[in-house]
């Protein structure tokens, strides 16, 4: 087969599979799962083939919208190091998650729907990765939002799941609004929506720094929404209402990383823009990574802890865009994070299933001996997340922090102290869940999950440990390592050790309840409450106003008012209906006189 076709097959096979499952196999649980897994395995295989043939370049395009001389949106494919890397990451993790889902979703009533949505998600995600222009990327960006909505709302009979799905969709709209405005601004200035075209015409843009700053920051709004940066992070923890494999694939490893991928994709534009753009990006990332760390240390739900840690790590990646010399600095962390975070989520899913859908870590404990494979994999993922040396996370995260040392000292201190928080919540999670005595009946009787679930864990645990070593990652990209002085690395290690020791002091004895209670952090800095208040007061007030306007001005004045006016005029006029023939004749004569008067004398 022509290798030129590979990317197209990679892109469209999941869409075909989704349609096939929905229309042909809507009731066949096993067949739907098999089709999904075979499709994703095919895309994974082809992705690796594409990755291993660096000479392959796809030039064919599908013309989609053509306005001659003004505007054209093709469906085209870009194949460079960035997209090849992302292809491999997405399809590999997707394959493992698809297989894992077969075990996790056993007995669920909506398995075909689940696999169809997952395939749709894969199609959309690969569309983002392969898009060679901003509009195509935006379309798939929205499709990812749709599939995320479907998957978060998989248990749609549960109100909280339906609400979370709606919230995720709505919050993302806020960011996407800025994103599309940014696309329009870039298009207006350069006359192109292709990444290559915009970068060619950048010289025209750099003459107007203010315009370029606005355009870049608006595009960054898309990242804020999709990658759950402050202040639009609230949807990601709530999206944990979806099935755990979904949390792993969409809301940890790939979809939320799309925002970072977008920034890496437009990195040349960001470089050409005034420094303030990347400074803003750095600050948003730094604040997110610190604040999400604070929120994570007081959560009790195992998935929510991981969700806040995801937000925090995404913050690191965004900081990496803001301070790194190349987009690869952030992509490196995306790469390692994708492995260890999906691993952690899959471990959490394994535990949740073994404990009969118990998600509170204070009902767990002692799982190291009861579920050894899951526990060891979780340990590997956790150590990588915390950034313990010799695990993958430490390489990529330290690199970002050291770049921050070189470019922005305040950013360095924020991100470095966030390492303490990372270590604290990670070790809290590991110590409470894996060690100590079981805190509940389910935990006491927990058994190891079946092979279909543990196999993906073991496979993912390997890259989670080794993905950071230069001899491994060197095959994937050329990383610009920061030339920071050794003291920076030592400070990071110091924070890490402090966090680990703090967690050990608090949680190593196996307390039955959390010994520290910080309501500010447990309530997520009250940001959700603030939004709640804002929606009720702001939007609610607006709704009251609109309802008042509708009821009294539109209904009252315009509709009923006009009807009443006509009725009243008729009422007055019918007083003239005396029933007297001669009166009518008189009115008639008077009317004629009046008309004559107006015709003749006016």
């Amino acid at each position: 087969m022509d290798p030129q076709l590979y990317p197209w097959i990679i892109l469209f096979a999941p869409l075909v599979a989704a349609a096939f499952i929905l229309f042909v196999l809507p009731r066949r649980n096993v067949a739907a799962g098999a089709v999904g897994i075979l499709t994703v395995a095919l895309t994974c295989f082809l992705s690796w083939k594409v990755f291993l043939t660096p000479s392959l370049a796809v030039t064919a395009q599908i013309p989609w919208i053509e306005v001659p001389g003004a505007f054209s949106v093709p469906i085209g494919i870009i194949l460079d190091n960035l997209s090849r890397l992302m292809l491999v990451v997405v399809t590999t993790i997707a394959t493992l998650v698809f297989i894992y889902s077969a075990g996790y979703m056993r007995g669920d009533e909506g398995i075909p729907r689940y696999y169809a949505s997952l395939c749709l998600f894969l199609f959309s995600m690969l569309g983002i990765v392969l898009a060679d222009n901003l509009v195509m990327m935006f379309i798939f960006w929205e499709l990812v939002g749709v599939s995320s909505y479907l998957l978060i709302g998989h248990y749609f009979r549960k109100d909280s799941a339906a609400d979370a799905a709606k919230q995720a969709f709505t919050v993302n709209r806020v960011g996407d609004f800025g994103f599309i405005l940014g696309i329009l601004m870039l298009w207006l200035a350069t006359g192109s929506i292709m990444f290559a075209g915009i970068e060619e015409n950048l010289s025209a843009l750099t003459l107007h720094p203010g315009y370029l700053i606005a355009a870049c920051l608006l595009v960054f709004c898309g990242t804020i929404g999709k990658s759950a940066q402050m202040p639009l992070h609230v949807w990601l923890p709530n999206s944990m209402e979806g099935p755990t494999p979904v949390s792993s694939l969409l809301h940890a490893a790939t979809m939320v990383a799309a925002g970072v991928y977008l920034l890496a994709r437009i990195f040349p534009i960001l470089l050409a823009a005034p420094d303030v753009v990347r400074e803003v990006i750095m600050w948003v990332g730094a604040i997110t990574c610190f604040a999400a760390g604070l929120m994570a240390i007081q959560q009790d739900d195992i998935k929510r802890i991981l969700a806040y840690s995801t937000i925090s790590q995404l913050g690191y990646m965004v900081v990496g865009i803001g301070v790194g010399a190349t987009g690869d600095v952030a992509m490196f962390h995306l790469f390692t994070h994708a492995f260890f975070k999906s691993l952690l989520f899959l471990c959490a899913g394994s535990i949740i299933i073994a404990l009969h859908h118990e998600q509170n870590i204070w009902k767990m404990g002692g799982l190291l001996t009861r579920m050894p494979i899951t526990a060891l994999c979780m340990l590997a993922g956790g150590l990588a997340l915390a950034g313990v040396p010799f695990f993958s996370g430490s390489f990529s995260k330290d690199n970002i922090i050291e770049w921050a040392w070189l470019n922005n000292r305040t950013g360095f201190w924020i991100t470095a102290s966030a390492v303490l928080l990372t270590a604290l919540y990670t070790f809290r999670l590991l110590l409470v869940v894996l060690l100590g005595k079981p805190r509940g009946d389910h935990a006491a009787r927990a058994k190891e999950s079946p092979l279909v679930m543990t196999l993906p864990l073991v496979i993912l645990a390997v890259p989670a440990v080794i993905a950071g070593y230069p001899w491994f990652v060197g095959h994937f990209f050329e990383i610009a390592y920061a030339e920071a002085p050794a003291i920076a690395h030592k400070i990071v290690l110091g924070f890490l050790a402090a966090g680990a020791v703090l967690a050990a002091l608090l949680y190593l004895r196996g307390p039955a309840h959390d010994p520290v209670r910080i309501p500010l952090f447990a309530h997520r800095l009250y940001i959700d409450n603030f939004y709640n208040w804002l929606v009720i007061r702001g939007q609610g007030g607006l709704a009251v106003l609109a309802s008042w306007f509708d009821r009294w001005i539109i209904d009252g004045l315009v509709v009923t008012g006009s009807a009443r006016t006509v009725w009243g005029a008729g009422y007055l006029l019918r007083l003239l209906q005396l029933g007297n023939l001669q009166a009518y004749a008189f009115f008639f004569g008077a009317g004629v006189l009046l008309v004559l008067y107006f015709l003749v004398f006016r």
């Binding site: 209906q577 029933g579 023939l581 001669q582 004569g589």
Partner: protein, 106 residues
């Protein structure tokens, strides 16, 4: 030789008498006759205009006179219908006084 103004004066007087009769008299038959008077007042002014309004060819304007014949014809037909209605009304209500015919109101 009476002038156009004299004819119009008579026509106006006739019309006014007719109008006053329509508005003031109580008997339907009288009202009907007054109505005819108004029609004939119009006829008179039409004929007067036809006589005095000379066209470019030096001939009287016969259009108006033809119109008068139309009015007379239509008035005759109208009298036939109107009197029939009044007779029918009298048979029904035993009256031709307009005060008694006041049911046409809301």
């Amino acid at each position: 030789m009476p002038t156009l103004g004299d004819y119009l004066l008579v026509s106006g007087l006739l019309f006014s008498i007719g109008l006053a009769g329509v508005l003031l008299r109580r008997n339907l038959l009288i009202i009907f006759m007054s109505l005819e008077l108004m029609l004939n007042a119009a006829n008179l002014s039409l004929v007067a205009f036809a006589r005095h309004g000379v066209t470019a060819f030096g001939l009287p304007d016969y259009n108006a006179q033809v119109l008068v014949f139309f009015i007379i014809t239509v008035a005759a037909a109208e009298v036939a219908v109107g009197l029939a209605i009044i007779v029918a009304l009298y048979r029904l209500r035993q009256t031709t006084h307009v005060e008694d015919l006041n049911r046409m109101k809301f």
